[in-house]
């Protein structure tokens, strides 16, 4: 055996509270990101992503408090994304216990930020999140949650990000996101075969079979989803047991 494929629940956080509905049983407080994180960790999640959508001037402070609270109680790695624009943001999160940070629009607007972050903290700390949408048969990088197209072709941007020091790529297909019709395995395969760093697939998970498909067809390193986990439509132990039945290596706890 070797390296397991990772299953990553993504939590949206605003002002230190999770914002997407969650209907687990036995939760005292469904808005508490630490309690949710603990639940996912107990179910066998391999890693967590917290996407902070706080828009206040206090955001760095609330992110740091969240990261510390998670690091104190959770014994699996986690990534924090949202609103990281400069080295000082990243430094504060690293010192609070974050394993990785995820950068999206800030990197598109200022690609040299990737070089700076990789030099300061190592490539293993720097995840580049890319939102892609197809326009005229081409995958184009989008900002603002997929609303704002850029001039950049997605694969070119990913290769540039890798050469600048991205240690991992989190690729979200906005055309698939929210559809529950499955991941964009074709494009994910193309990206995964083009880079030397790990790729996390995101966007479109609706069933266990979609996870089997994305690992079998694109061979990505990890798959991320939000609502199918939050609403209990897919339970991580069931998902892992079916992946295993399909000869996909997973971590058992």
């Amino acid at each position: 055996g070797g390296l397991a494929k990772r299953i990553i629940p993504c939590l949206d956080v605003k002002d230190g509270r999770t914002v997407k509905g969650v209907n687990f049983v036995d939760l005292r407080d469904a808005g508490d990101p630490v309690e949710l994180a603990w639940n996912y960790s107990n179910q066998g999640a391999d890693e967590l992503v917290f996407l902070d959508i706080t828009a206040t001037v206090e955001r760095r402070k609330t992110m740091v408090e969240l990261v510390k609270a998670v690091a104190r109680q959770i014994n699996i790695p986690f990534t924090i994304g949202g609103g990281i624009n400069e080295i000082a943001d990243a430094d504060a999160l690293l010192n609070a216990g974050a394993d990785k940070i995820s950068i999206n629009s800030a990197a598109v607007r200022n690609p040299a930020l990737i070089d700076e972050l990789a030099k300061a903290f190592g490539v293993q700390f720097v995840v580049i999140a890319v939102d892609t949408r197809v326009i005229n048969h081409k995958n184009i990088v989008h900002l603002n949650g997929g609303r704002l197209p850029t001039e950049k072709e997605t694969l070119n941007w990913i290769l540039e990000a890798e050469s600048r020091g991205a240690g991992e790529i989190l690729l979200t297909s906005m055309d698939h996101d929210g559809t529950k019709n499955g991941f964009d395995t074709t494009f994910l395969k193309q990206v995964n075969n083009s880079v030397n760093v790990p790729v996390i697939a995101s966007g479109g998970a609706g069933s266990v079979q979609h996870f089997v498909d994305v690992f079998e067809q694109s061979n990505v390193d990890a798959a991320l989803a939000a609502s199918v986990f939050h609403y209990g439509e897919i339970l991580i132990p069931d998902l892992k047991s079916i992946l295993k039945q399909n000869n996909i290596e997973v971590r058992e706890i």
Partner: protein, 196 residues
């Protein structure tokens, strides 16, 4: 009580949080006299091995570290520092283990950094891995690895090639993975270390 050697390479928040969850007492070592306060030591470390070695040398603690006789655990780059040499920064290291730290080859099949949960298999018997089943997954994130060695590899992992997931010589131990991020088995390993 565990003394964590502070030399400015990487954050230790997650490590101290794990020790607190486990009820394992710890303190910080900043100077040579501090070593006497503890009965075992951890050398943490993330980032660049050459840069980390440079920082460690600047503390003046290198001769003391090499002379330690109490249980000492290097984690990640802290483990790599125990070896003789790293390709990262072409750096001479502590030479407690006469083996080398090398870079993974670039490949679209075996991604670098090696990131995620990899199975670990014991190569020798040691209480550090007590109550941890063979083939348990531990969390790794690294671009450089310590070569496999018949004498010093305590447990191995396979990622393209077989490499040292952990090493052991006398009172010195190193783990390439992050026990503080490796779920229940990682916590078991930290507990085991606290009792060596």
């Amino acid at each position: 009580m565990i003394g964590i050697i502070r030399y400015g390479a990487g954050n230790i928040f997650s490590l101290t949080a794990a020790l607190e969850r486990l009820g394992i007492p710890y303190g910080m070592i900043n100077k040579e006299d501090d070593f006497d306060l503890y009965d075992r030591y951890i050398i943490p470390g993330v980032g660049h091995a050459g840069a980390a070695m440079h920082k460690l040398e600047n503390t003046g603690l290198v001769p003391k570290i090499k002379s330690l006789t109490k249980p000492t655990l290097g984690i990640c780059v802290g483990m790599q520092l125990l070896t003789s040499y790293s390709e990262e920064g072409d750096a001479d290291l502590l030479k407690i283990f006469p083996i080398k730290t090398m870079r993974f080859a670039n490949s679209t099949e075996y991604k670098v950094p090696h990131t995620g949960w990899n199975q670990v298999y014991p190569e020798r018997e040691n209480p550090l891995f007590e109550n941890i089943p063979n083939g348990s997954h531990f969390y790794f994130v690294h671009s450089y690895f310590i070569e496999f060695d018949n004498t010093f590899t305590l447990s191995s992992a396979i990622y393209n090639n077989k490499f040292s997931a952990s090493i052991w010589r006398d009172n010195f131990y190193g783990v390439q993975f992050h026990p503080e991020k490796s779920g229940a088995y990682g916590e078991t390993l930290l507990k085991n270390f606290s009792k060596l």
